[in-house]
């Protein structure tokens, strides 16, 4: 064990000495993106391990060590850590944990503290916890998020989001099952290797890579049968993490749906943009505004490339942040920033607009921001765009899957009825038809 050093407030520091031989456990959320981020950490000398465990014992551990009324993501993330520490797989004298910290007004900013409380309760008080944040909330001598790392992490999100999007759009239609999954794996590895050689990080290279990826996916042989198109939105953890949403994506796939899960880039843009909005709404430093604006512009540039490449090869591109934002003008204020804030409302409108009007709005039971921007806005969304067919699903350790699935099936029954009864005449659906036209040369007729 390395020497344990504490800061003034008694927090255990992750030291330079620890960096050498400590294993750092990361919780799993969005598999593609997180896998690439893990590789970035590995490259920079952090022995990062992504926890991909599942099973009821994780929630059980969470329930045991965290206040039971705390939101489900906290129970799961902390439960996953403790379950891992108790598994015997890791040398407890050489293991650290890493968790993100946003600093927003939601309970999520407290996860790291709840984790530390839980560690003490479970007898792991000597395990250091690293906060991954952009707000300078907690510092550790053995870990720093350098600019090159940050650029690679952003690139991971760009690539990861794109791979996720393409995979979702191709997989339901592929003739040779598993082809798109193979491409995902192939590119995850290829891109990570590129990062390590300093490649695929500059804008131009990213653009080229995105083109190559989109092209590769467009070459997968597909059969275009009409399928119910479902959008998934919600609290970020239960939206992406299989552990959190009872593997919602697989369930929807089994029900024969095409799924669209808006990416992490949109959320990142939202979080950065919030700082600008705060200054606009309440006043603040102009210098700070300009610095944040640089980051905002950088992310926007990345987004533009994602849209360009995916559209070029006939896919439904991710919604453009600036456009998504205009959708909620006069619906909900831009100052509503806690949790997923107005973005959640905007994503539902955006999905409806692009043909994914059947929506599962996921949230942990009792999620505070989603009372406002999720469940609180569904009525309004329906009044704006009556195509919206939304079901709100609560996730928590006691909420049985059978009830969740039954409610989703109700939403799907309405969707399926519409799919069979309505001719595809709405203009916003054109993109889809356009894309299938482009790809007919590759389709196997009657397969």
């Amino acid at each position: 064990m390395a020497k344990l050093i504490y800061d003034k407030g008694g927090r255990l520091i992750f030291t330079k000495e620890m960096k050498k031989d400590y294993t750092i456990l990361l919780p799993m959320m969005a598999p593609i993106q997180f896998k690439m981020i893990q590789n970035v950490f590995l490259h920079y000398g952090y022995n990062a391990v992504l926890l991909d465990t599942s099973g009821p014992e994780i929630a059980q551990a969470g329930l045991k060590y965290v206040h039971n009324d705390t939101c489900y993501p906290a129970l799961l993330v902390i439960g996953q850590f403790i379950d891992a520490l108790q598994s015997g797989k890791y040398d407890l004298n050489r293991t650290a944990l890493m968790i993100t910290q946003t600093g927003g007004g939601c309970r999520a900013s407290n996860y790291i503290h709840l984790l530390r409380k839980a560690l003490v309760k479970a007898g792991f008080e000597k395990i250091p916890v690293i906060s991954l944040n952009l707000s300078g909330l907690e510092k550790n001598s053995g870990f720093s998020l350098t600019l090159p790392m940050l650029r690679r992490i952003i690139a991971s999100l760009v690539y990861g989001d794109t791979l996720m999007l393409l995979h979702n759009q191709v997989k339901p239609y592929e003739v040779n099952q598993g082809e798109s999954q193979k491409l995902v794996e192939y590119y995850t590895e290829k891109l990570s290797n590129g990062f390590n050689k300093g490649m695929g990080i500059k804008a131009k290279q990213i653009s080229q890579n995105l083109d190559e990826i989109a092209k590769a996916f467009s070459e997968i042989i597909v059969v275009k049968t009409p399928k119910v198109k479902v959008g998934v939105v919600g609290e970020i953890y239960v939206k992406y993490a299989r552990l959190g949403n009872n593997d919602l994506e697989s369930f929807l796939a089994n029900e024969g749906c095409e799924v669209c899960v808006p990416g992490i880039m949109g959320f990142s843009l939202f979080k950065v943009d919030n700082r600008l909005e705060d200054i606009k709404l309440y006043g603040g430093s102009k210098i700070k505004y300009r610095i944040v604006k640089i980051l905002m512009d950088y992310l926007t540039k990345m987004e533009t490339m994602m849209i360009a490449s995916t559209a070029k090869y006939g896919f439904t591109p991710p919604g453009e942040y600036a456009h998504t934002k205009t959708l909620v003008k006069d619906v909900i204020g831009y100052g509503s920033k806690m949790g997923e804030g107005w973005l959640l409302t905007a994503e539902m409108l955006e999905l409806t607009e692009t043909g994914y009007e059947n929506i599962v709005c996921t949230q942990p039971f009792g999620c505070l921001p989603n009372h406002i921007c999720g469940k609180g806005m569904i009525r309004k969304i329906k009044s704006i765009d009556e195509r919206a067919n939304i079901v709100a699903i609560d996730y928590d350790p006691g909420a049985p899957r059978v009830n969740q699935e039954n409610r989703i099936k109700l939403m799907l029954a309405v969707a399926k009825e519409r799919l069979t009864s309505q001719p595809k005449t709405e203009k916003t659906h054109k993109k889809l038809e356009h894309s299938s036209e482009k790809r007919t040369n590759k389709e196997v007729v009657g397969a």
Binding site: G283, I332, G333, G335, G376, P400, E417
Partner: protein, 966 residues
């Protein structure tokens, strides 16, 4: 020909339709969770009864049918969708369908934009809820309907979940309310819940159809719906079979009939449900366990012919009444354990008669009563002592283990646990309204599966794979059971799983314990539920410790009471004697108090011999006919002070302000701000239940906290009183009091104006100002507020707004200073009089009487002074907390807790609104801060309705603990 099956949570319905959609055959049967064999049975009889049925197309619907359908390759039709299809075929022109099922409630809007609504996972008000309530009233279901027909009055009962309703109904029963009135109130609760929870503001009108079991069988329930909705709905013939018929209509693929029957019969699930290790590996293990617990016995004696003094102990609990007779050597002479069929008075009467029958010359030296029915029994029979349950249980536990460190009692409705520190009760844990499902839950479940409870728990002892059911509320557990069955869990596995979940609920929800070390190794378990070996074993396994379960586990409250009576006896009991028992009479009348704006509904019990007991009151006023002394109650002061800011005049027009959430603190700010700008102000009135009803149908999220829900009523009442402009700004940030790392509002307080604006149709008719304002930035605020308000009032100037802002900040400071000054005054007075000071800590809006349910007055009635957290939080400098301290209101809690550590005469009671996610963090932290300084933490959870009985137990226990510490 088409066949549809509707596999619900408790029943299976089957319909065979002809090509012309005529019903050829139908059947409705309870499945007692033996779903697969029942389906096979039904299909076999269909084949026998309907010629040609074996070539029909088949589809399955219903929440419990999903697994079977999947495995057997039969089409599955979602049940709401099936209903819709059936209605379109059989009752064309239907506008709205209201369907209540076993565990689901649904509303389908068919005309004018089709919409289907289904209850969320945390919503009661269904058939199972009505079942539970009938069980609680101890009447068969049919009788519930007949009872309701002869109602006179209704009470407010929460129907959000069965557990909540129980806590409302139990006190009513204990106070002697008429069963007929309660029955109708239950129906009213269901109706309110369905309309509020599902219609969410959409009007139910036109041709309305009632479907499903409860609405088919209960005429009174239909009448209630009609009355509330102002319509007359239809309950069609075959109203039970719409889902099944809909499934039949959707059936497309005909399947080989024999194959299906065989498949269904062989369907076992894939066993992929989560499970725990078995409770016992072997018979031997069980025998050793039994032998160990059999040793914990009590000394016995004979009541017949007993010559010495005897002491009576009575425990009138929520579901059972326990009684004991104790002799001079602490020997148990006689005892009874009976179910409380709604009214404990006749049970105690017959118990006392029985004593005289067994021993006509019995010398009763004292009696004591505890439990929910304490007060009514004490008054009815002139019992010497009434004691709080925790004290009774501790007294009894000490007899079995003098150095006991932890006592846990799981009864029918309650979980009570406490730690013993230095020989005094410390750290009381009671279950909150949402996790009450303890003993009676096992009972209800056993009944549903048609097992006697003893047998039901017994079969779980050797289950191979006890189902993991989680540790949440009973409604969830019901569904978890359903899911486990879907994957092939046996009755044995479920029985064991339920026992384990009771334990986990107690440990992780109520006590929040991680390991036995936190509780101490010396544990006494008691309460009727622990007589159940499966529960006892699950507890020992979960804690990894061996515990003591007294042989009289179920009688401990009564036993403790009798010991207390003996210790405090003055030689001759005040209890009514044999002759008075013979002429004993008990009359109940209902009346409204009318002595204050609460207007409590009172149940007045009068007993022959002059005994009188009033129930349902929140304060002592109807009993003493004296106004409450509120001189040492800051909640009362705050509310009155706030009232002085509710109205002002101005020439620029009137601005309405809804008096809820953060407005409870910011009203002085905005009042002064707008008055300075020459606007008039009108705040919505102080909340009451009528005001809540006005807006409750527009609430989009039924799990949001009650204070937020009340906001809908406030806004509606402003609109109804012709206010044209309402000001309710969004505030991400609160004022920085320099006590924490940040100064946010919680997401609900910050953005609730958005919910109001998006969900209340009438808001569109007025000007609703929900601008994002930053009162935390004093310098920028006037500029930004000017920009925002210019959009609505073109003639205001920046100069005016700057002046108004100055006035607003000054008034806010003055308001807060007044509160602190009053608080200081109360503290000084209490110090002088040697009174205990209770810091009733929560949020500014907890002074709302509709939110706090008069808990402040109730606590005050125990002769203690009450201050709020904001009085003492400025006395502490910012300090390091273990959690991120980022919300202004919550920083005050931590600071107050810290300060209390320095005072011997202060204790903290935290009010927590149900559904407050932030308090999941604050409660643990406040507890930690208090306990570091040797203080007791007490929490009271409040919601739309609160069980004041449980609050009393807490407060009395806390007072007993404080007294013992001295």
């Amino acid at each position: 020909m088409k066949i549809g099956l509707d596999v619900g949570s408790t029943t299976i319905k089957c319909v065979v339709l002809s090509e012309k959609n005529e019903i050829l055959y139908n059947t409705y049967e309870r499945h007692f969770s033996q779903i697969t064999s029942k389906i096979a049975e039904i299909l076999s009889s269909v084949r026998e009864n309907v010629p040609g049925a074996d070539k029909a197309a088949v589809a399955i619907s219903g929440s419990a049918g999903m697994g079977v359908a999947e495995t057997c390759g039969i089409d599955f039709i979602q049940e709401v969708y099936a209903t819709k299809v059936a209605a379109a075929t059989f009752i064309p022109g239907t506008d709205v369908i209201i369907e209540l099922g076993g565990e689901d409630a649904k509303i389908l809007f068919l005309s004018g934009g089709m919409e289907v609504r289904m209850n969320g996972t945390c919503a009661g008000g269904t058939g199972a809820f009505i079942d539970q309530m009938a069980t609680l009233l101890n009447v068969p279901l049919e009788e519930l309907n007949d009872l309701a027909a002869s109602y006179e009055k209704t009470y407010t009962i929460a129907s959000r979940c069965g557990v909540f309703a129980k806590t409302d109904i139990q006190p009513l029963l204990n106070q002697g309310a008429r069963k007929a009135d309660i029955a109708e109130s239950i129906f009213l609760a269901v109706v309110t819940q369905t309309i509020a929870g599902l219609a969410q503001g959409r009007k139910i009108e036109g041709k309305v159809v009632y479907l499903g079991g409860p609405l088919t069988f209960m005429e009174q329930l239909r009448k209630r719906f009609d009355k509330v909705l102002g319509i007359s709905g239809i309950c069609p013939e075959n109203s039970l079979y719409y889902v099944a018929a809909g499934a039949a209509l959707c059936a497309e693929s005909s399947v080989e009939f024999d194959e299906i029957i065989q498949k269904v019969e062989n369907y076992r699930g894939d066993g992929s449900f989560a499970y725990n290790p078995p409770l016992f590996e072997s018979k031997e293990e069980y025998d050793t366990f039994k032998a160990r617990h059999a040793k914990v016995t009590v000394k016995r004696g004979e009541l017949a012919g007993y010559k010495g003094n005897v002491y009576i102990g009575m425990d009138a609990g929520s579901t059972t009444v326990k009684t004991v007779v104790l002799g001079e050597e602490n020997e148990l002479l006689y005892s009874q354990y009976q179910s409380n069929s709604g009214n404990p008075v006749p049970i105690i009467k017959s118990f006392l008669e029985k004593i005289y029958e067994i021993n006509p010359n019995v010398k009763i030296a004292a009696g004591a009563v505890t439990g929910y029915g304490e007060e009514i029994i004490k008054n009815a029979f002139k019992v010497d002592f009434g004691i709080v349950e925790t004290v009774a249980h501790f007294t009894a536990a000490k007899k079995f283990m003098p150095d006991v460190q932890f006592v846990i009692d799981i009864g029918g409705q309650d979980i009570k646990c406490f730690k013993i520190h230095n020989g005094a009760i410390d750290n009381i844990f009671l279950n909150e309204a949402c996790s009450s499902g303890c003993g009676s839950f096992l009972q209800t479940f056993a009944n549903a599966l048609s097992y006697p409870i003893e047998k039901f728990s017994q079969i779980g002892l050797f289950a191979k794979h006890p189902v993991d059911l989680g540790s949440r509320c009973t409604v969830f557990m019901n569904s978890s059971v359903k899911q486990a069955q879907k994957y092939g869990a046996t009755i044995e596995d479920i029985s064991a799983g339920l026992s384990i979940s009771v334990v986990k609920n107690a440990l992780y929800k109520v006590i929040r314990a991680g390991s036995p070390d936190e509780l101490g190794r010396k544990i006494v378990v008691q309460g009727g539920t622990f007589l159940n070996d499966a529960v006892l074993r699950a507890f020992e396994k979960e804690m990894g410790a061996e515990v003591v379960r007294p042989e009289i586990s179920g009688l401990m409250g009564a036993f403790g009471a009798s010991l207390y009576a003996k210790e405090n006896s003055k030689g001759k009991s005040t209890m009514i004697g044999k002759s008075e028992l013979e002429s004993f009479e008990h009359k109940i009348t209902v009346a409204n108090c009318g002595l204050c704006e609460n207007n409590c509904r009172l149940t007045i019990n009068t007993f022959a011999g002059g005994g009188k007991f009033i129930g349902g009151n929140r304060c002592e006023r109807p009993v003493t006919h004296r106004a409450n002394d509120n001189s040492l109650n800051i909640y009362n002061y705050k509310l009155n002070l706030l009232k002085s800011y509710m109205k002002s005049e101005g020439s620029r027009g009137k601005i309405g302000i809804p008096l809820g959430l953060n407005m409870f603190e910011l009203l002085p700010f905005w009042n002064s701000f707008f008055t300075s700008l020459d606007f008039g102000i009108e705040a919505s009135p102080v909340s009451d239940s009528k005001l809540y009803q006005r807006g409750h149908q527009t609430i989009p999220s039924d799990t949001v906290c009650f204070p937020a829900k009340l906001m809908h009523g406030h806004v509606q009442s402003l609109i109804d009183s012709e206010i044209k402009t309402i000001f309710y700004p969004c505030l991400s940030y609160n004022l920085d009091e320099d006590l924490g790392d940040n100064h946010y509002n919680c997401p609900v307080v910050a953005y609730y104006p958005e919910v109001i604006s998006a969900n209340m149709p009438d808001v569109q008719k007025i000007t609703f100002i929900k601008e994002y304002l930053g009162i935390h930035r004093k310098k920028d605020f006037p500029i930004k507020a000017y920009e925002a308000l210019s959009k609505y009032f073109s003639d205001i100037t920046l100069k005016e707004v700057k002046k108004a802002a100055k006035a607003a900040y000054a008034e806010y400071e003055a308001y807060m200073a007044k509160i602190r000054a009053k608080g200081d005054e109360i503290i000084a007075k209490a110090e002088k009089d040697g009174k205990q000071i209770f810091v009733l800590a929560g949020r500014p809006y907890h002074i709302d009487p509709e939110i706090n349910h008069g808990i402040d007055t109730l606590i005050g009635s125990f002769g203690v002074a009450i201050i709020s957290e904001d009085v003492i939080s400025p006395r502490v400098k910012r300090f390091k907390t273990t959690v991120l301290n980022q919300w202004t209101y919550h920083s005050r809690l931590y600071a107050a807790a810290k300060y209390i550590g320095t005072r011997k005469d202060m204790n903290l009671v935290q009010l927590v609104s149900f559904g407050c996610g932030v308090d999941a963090i604050t409660t643990d932290e406040v507890r930690e801060i208090l306990e570091k300084n040797g203080k007791i933490y007490t929490q009271i959870k409040i919601d739309e309705i609160t069980n004041l009985g449980a609050v009393k137990i807490r407060i009395r226990s806390l007072l007993a603990a404080i007294a013992a510490q001295k």
